[in-house]
């Protein structure tokens, strides 16, 4: 009796599983999408749908404000330059203004290409 009951249950389970496997086979994309939505529930909720496109257009954007830079330069001129013996000042967040020198400067390749070696 119990054996029969188990068998029926197993058969039902198999049916459900079978349908799941079938779905995955018919549309692997949809199951991948479900996986992604499970990990990032807020994905694709913003209107405009063009987050990806806007990110692509903005490639290379760095943050350098010439006004901030010049004001920071003026500030330093007014203050006295610290002596060599003075301890390292801890940076106050917000006071550090990026300068052109701070931006990761990629120098042109001075070395010849290794393809030509």
């Amino acid at each position: 009796m119990s054996g029969d009951h188990e068998e029926t249950q197993t058969a039902e389970e198999m049916q459900v599983d079978g349908k799941g496997v079938q779905d995955k086979m018919i549309n692997p994309e949809k199951s991948e999408e479900a996986k992604l939505k499970a990990r990032y529930p807020n994905l694709g909720n913003k209107p405009g749908g063009s987050d990806l496109l806007r990110k692509r257009l903005q490639k290379g954007q760095k943050y350098f404000d010439s006004g901030d830079y010049n004001m920071a330069k003026a500030k330093i001129k007014n203050k006295q330059l610290p002596t060599a013996a003075a301890p390292e000042k801890t940076e106050i967040t917000g006071d550090h203004i990026p300068t052109p020198q701070d931006l990761p400067q990629r120098k042109p390749s001075l070395v010849a290409s290794k393809l030509a070696g």
Partner: protein, 447 residues
């Protein structure tokens, strides 16, 4: 000309590999474009460091007639340098996005190279003679005192070691607000087009201070932006026709005779999609990363993330041929989205007779499809199979549960080893495959 391996009559074998074998690849050494010139004599590469290296084919030696000649370094130069646009707070990479050769008209060779913002026309010329015996100058170049010159000397041309010089002849700058993805030389050999994400410009090779804007898809309100231009190319024979592809998987063919601004396309190519199978990934994987006309000008080929499609220019509603490059990745799209690989831009190319097409994949695999026999093959660019004249063994990715010997499972593929750039010699069965920082050259075995 046979296209693809398979069968007894045709096989690909290793010819050369260029580049370092270091494990640690410097970003600057990553090859970003590969292009043969019109005769196939020259092969140019561009890299992320803004450098161009040109290889020249040297004739096969009489000692080894069964081998085609080799490609050796002909010239190398720094084409572009990194810049910073202070006005827009924009960092401009020196990476060479595309190189396109001009047809040869005299002894010198010309090519166009472009980064994200600036296109340059380079002249590559040979110098194998030097003038000696100047009348007014010393041998070391110092001017002679004119009062001490008592006789007339005419300079004589003396042979010297071959020197190949590259000089920038034109700089086409400040015409693109967005990032240039394509350049294409027109069949009139006088003009060329350059395309960025939203606009396409038409230039005259002699004129650098102005260009015509021929396509502008920038919406009045950027919030309404739905698609960008991904690639563009001039028709190989009709100088008034060009195409551009989009991130939504569509291609527009335009005729410059119809209007000054070609915003309205003459033809619109799009394959109908089954709306029930649409997913979050559908648009991303349909984005076309490359479009290439066939040499005949009758067909064009597009590459999207998972497939290559051949279109007949006379039929807009669907492609005439579709080839699956790596369909097994469809069930991996979630992780490919997370690691950004889904945005990789693969290129594709035709062989000289348009009978075969080639494109790259991951794990340093590349695929070739023969349009006539419908046979396809997967080959690998690796140091292991880099013995001189070694025949390349076909590779196979196992998709099912059972993995046969010599097959590789999808989960073992190295997604950092991508072959994005390949080129096929315009006449012979010689191909150049860029594998990150290495350039592989393969050729057919002459039987």
């Amino acid at each position: 000309m046979a296209g693809v391996a398979g069968g007894n009559d045709f096989q690909w074998c290793f010819s050369q590999v260029k580049g370092a074998i270091d494990e640690d690849v410097a970003e600057a050494d990553i090859i970003s474009t590969v292009e043969f010139n019109y005769s196939g004599e020259l092969l140019a590469t561009g890299d992320k460091g803004g450098r161009v290296v040109i290889f020249q084919h040297e004739q096969e030696s009489k000692n080894r007639p069964h081998l085609r000649g080799e490609y050796n370094v002909y010239s190398t130069f720094q084409s572009h340098e990194p810049e910073f646009d202070y006005l827009k707070s924009l960092e401009i990479e020196e990476k060479i996005n595309k190189i396109r050769w001009l047809p040869q008209q005299n002894a010198a060779h010309f090519l166009l190279s472009t980064n994200d913002k600036t296109i340059k026309l380079w002249k590559i010329s040979e110098r194998d003679k030097r003038a000696e015996g100047y009348n007014l100058k010393d041998e070391d170049g110092r001017l002679r005192d004119p009062f001490r010159i008592t006789s007339l000397r005419v300079p004589v041309l003396m042979p010297m070691d071959l020197m190949v010089e590259a000089s920038p002849r034109r700089i086409f700058a400040n015409a693109h607000t967005y990032h240039i993805n394509s350049i294409s030389v027109n069949s009139d050999h006088e003009t060329y087009l350059s395309a960025d994400d939203l606009r396409i410009n038409l230039w005259h090779l002699e004129i650098t201070d102005r260009s015509f804007n021929i396509v502008d898809i920038k919406p009045a309100n950027m919030e309404e932006l739905t698609e960008v231009i991904t690639a563009a190319e001039c028709h190989p024979l009709q100088c008034n026709v060009f195409v551009y592809s989009s991130s939504k998987g569509t291609i527009r063919l335009c005729d410059t005779r119809a209007a000054a601004l070609c915003d309205r396309q003459a033809k619109f190519f799009e394959e109908p999609e089954d709306p029930s199978s649409r997913s979050f990934f559908s648009e991303i994987i349909s984005s076309i990363s490359d479009v290439k006309f066939s040499h005949s000008g009758r067909y064009m080929m597009t590459r999207d993330y998972l497939s290559v499609k051949v279109w007949d220019l006379n039929m807009e509603n669907r492609p005439v041929e579709t080839y699956q490059v790596h369909e097994y990745l469809r069930s991996k799209l979630c992780s490919l989205y997370e690691n950004d690989c889904i945005f990789d831009k693969f290129e594709c190319c035709w062989n000289g007779s348009d009978s075969a097409i080639m494109t790259g994949s991951y794990n340093n695999f590349f695929r070739m499809f023969d349009r006539n026999t419908r046979r396809d093959i997967t080959l690998e660019a690796s140091r292991e199979s880099s013995k001189p004249r070694a025949t390349l063994k076909p590779r196979k990715v196992s998709t099912g549960g059972k993995r046969k010997k010599d097959e590789i499972s999808v989960d073992s593929l190295d997604f950092n080893k991508k072959i994005l750039h390949t080129a096929w010699h315009p006449k012979d069965n010689v191909i150049a495959v860029a594998a990150t920082n290495n350039l592989y050259i393969f050729q057919d075995k002459i039987n």
